[in-house]
Symmetry: D2
Subunit: 281 residues, 4 copies
């Protein structure tokens, strides 16, 4: 049996689930899992994630037949195929803990993802990446003037090769032009519990402010720095004993965990955007 | 508009959601929220919780019409009415932290519940309970020989008055006969992270074993002591500094939180039993 | 045996612990617990909390003898007496979950505190407070023009009666003059994970920003709103399902827990200020 | 300046801290950090961890001079040298998540440890280990009859080469003879929240029991399987949705985190045994 996932959203209105489940049933597909959420059942937005199974023939014909239902309800929708892992490109700078953790989970098949390349503005991690049979691309950005050319090279590199770009502590700010042209979602890990300590140096500022928890935030990247839709956050308890070095070390554990969850959920088609927030099924 | 909740389970099979959602739609009811789970989409058990809204006329006629669908799929099912809070009887002994927390949440309307009475094998909390306008019943159990008579009195007291019995640190073990005759679910809070430290004196044993986390477990009561289906658990971090008194004090916070969550979820019809485990939507 | 606590801080330098412990030992006092922290052993600030026991005679003579040691090291210091609970005044507005929780812990003797009065800008909680044998003072602030007079009344009320003021969701901003004149520490609970969502309406802003955790922060109040030294913070996991009402309800649990911890630690002399941060032993 | 750590325990009695701190001060050493705990200040056991700094000459002479103080108080004690990382041997079987995480932290210098070798009853991880420049020893145990010989080989391999043995999901039970002869502490990671689910197959049993949290426990290995002194534990929230595979995957994250913390604390001389429990400073 083949599987597919339906991701859909539209203005909430009566009869959506009835229509979708009937179409799938009549076509001979079996619903395996279904999650739905409505921001307000009377006038809100409706979100649906359905995983279903059927023969190849049944499943392949469904996308076409679903178009009519989607049009009737004014749906934004797509079908995902769990058998086709998302192709992921990872961008990284000097810090490699998030990179290493993603590669570790990729090797263990914990993510529905195929890492296709790693690119960096530094050459440090070339050996470690290539040792795992992955292409590594060094695209330096020695000064701000080089950034447009670096982004051009990155776009050329990524063009058509990936379904998701992951900024695994990539310390360059991507331009709005880049984000528009890259054409796939970009997930970033920010090393603070946003909206606290947006911007640079969050651990130093956390130490200075004397917070008792530090955190990390994985979010979709938008043109507004550190303002994109949040996918996942978590925290770790700290105390007056932890200096900036200790906060950075403890924070690295939260960062890699939070980023791995966000990337995993995205690749399993669990994350739907809702304005500047996310629905995570 | 009136609301209802459908709770249903049956052998998983194609077409369940399609049939249920079609029935609701055709009847003029609007699905507000829906959660489902299958222990295995091919041969497992299917669980469904659907909340829907419609005119009084529509909603009242639905239970009857649903019977046919339920029969077709071999469903165990019931309709819940969110407008009718569950009637809750609380049993307590000397420790009152869980009792106080449940009463606090009841007064704040945080639970879909109406506390109808408090009973205890001790008289200590009479004043505090009656001050809140609630009946308090003292049913002493001075020695094991008195237990059958005490249970008889409890059954008489509870008969027809409540939809749920909550053991809020009630330190008497209820007999299998009592559990069969009481006819409503009974939720207990155990002061350990079950299955660790089942039985008596869990905090003393936790101290002796040197655990680094203590916990609490809310579960449905069955004839097998501390073996019933778990609804919710949580833990709190402790260290070598905490003696049994400190563990007991810290544990009280976890106990009251875990019990309140379990009672709240039960009253919102979110908990379905699955053998000796639970599905919590 | 009588007990005392020494709280001291000074520039870190060799010989502090040797001098203090020798003084105590020579005087016949026994160290029961000792915690120390240095922001940097070479040139930083040193913090010490020592609890010790001795006969009444020994302990009473110590404060005087300690003066010489303190002078030698340039210490800021004080002796605390665990047998004398801190006198606490609670200020509250409409929301009573923090008030109720503090009173509950006070009745259970969980805090080294004696609640001496409750004051509020609303009359709502008079009955509940007085039922516990506590004086309740209604000091209304109908409009900003009334604030100076209300603060004057509060100061008169608090003068000499308490060692700590707790703002248990008191929704009036206290002036710098008030804070200077009140002469005792003031602890506030802010309903967000500071520095995120400082200011008004944190749960609505949390919902809008789509955070995946909500939090609460207990801090000493300074003239800079929401900027005082943080004593404790904690968080609770939330999702897209939680609207502002649900966030507020879940948040109330975190608020009361965090505030109770902060007040408890303060009353046990565990919290030392270090610039705009705290050392919590 | 050289640093040392004093780890000491003895029957609690007056004057210990005064004597120790005076000795250090008189010798010209400066206390950098100090933690102490008494199971009962009147008749209990006293535990001390002190880190101090001084010239090479001062520090090297101290161990000898400390002997007299230790004798006076009947102390069990030792000096640790933070500049000399603990030599760690890792034993592993098929599952490599704990191994990989320890090696990752070792490369990042997060542990005060030097990994000296990896041994396994399977050959699977040879390549990955040797790629990091570490010796890998395959000591197969095809059947129980081979165990004594395997243990003999292990003992020969470990003899004098390491200060700590870490069982990073090593699935062979070590004999009492081995534990006596190996002569260094052995830390194990158990994949459950002990004492729950001691023994084999904890995730399957957790699924069957329907627990809502899964955990992991790092402990010193003693002859009583899964009964040794616990160093650290942590948990992860799970639900009815997680089958044994998902529990195992989520559990792997807790296991690696808990083991890394326990190994790190041990190597920093933060863990003292107290009967069958631990004091972790």
């Amino acid at each position: 049996l083949a599987r597919r996932r339906l991701l859909a959203s539209c203005a909430d209105q009566p009869g959506i689930v009835a229509a979708v489940s009937r179409l799938l049933h009549d076509a001979g597909a079996n619903i395996i899992q279904s999650d739905q959420y409505s921001s307000d059942p009377f006038g809100g937005t409706f979100f649906l994630r359905m995983e279903f199974a059927g023969t190849d023939h049944v499943v392949e014909g469904l996308a076409e037949r679903f178009g009519a239902v989607a049009e009737r309800f004014g749906m934004t929708w797509r079908f995902g195929n769990p058998a086709v892992p998302k192709r992921v490109a990872i961008l990284v700078s000097k810090q490699d803990h998030c990179l290493q953790d993603l590669l570790y989970r990729w090797r263990r098949n914990e993510l529905e993802a195929e890492v296709v390349l790693v690119a960096s503005n530094h050459a440090d991690h070339r050996e470690a990446v290539e040792a795992q049979g992955l292409p590594f691309h060094h695209i330096p950005v020695a000064n701000p003037a080089e950034k447009p050319e670096a982004e051009r090279q990155l776009l050329e590199l990524l063009d058509g090769t990936c379904d998701l770009v992951v900024l695994a502590r990539y310390m360059q700010i991507l331009s709005g032009d880049f984000l528009r042209l890259v054409g796939v979602p970009v997930i970033n890990i920010h090393h603070s519990f946003l909206p606290a300590f947006a911007g640079a140096g969050p651990y130093a500022r956390a130490r200075e402010r004397g917070v008792k928890l530090i955190g990390a935030t994985a979010h979709y990247v938008t043109e507004d720095l550190d303002e994109g839709p949040i996918i996942e956050q978590d925290v770790n308890r700290v105390s007056h004993c932890h200096d900036v070095g200790a906060l950075t070390r403890l924070g690295a554990d939260v960062e890699r965990t939070v980023l791995a969850r966000a990337v995993g959920w995205h690749c399993e088609d669990r994350v739907l955007r809702h304005g500047n927030t996310t629905v995570v099924f």
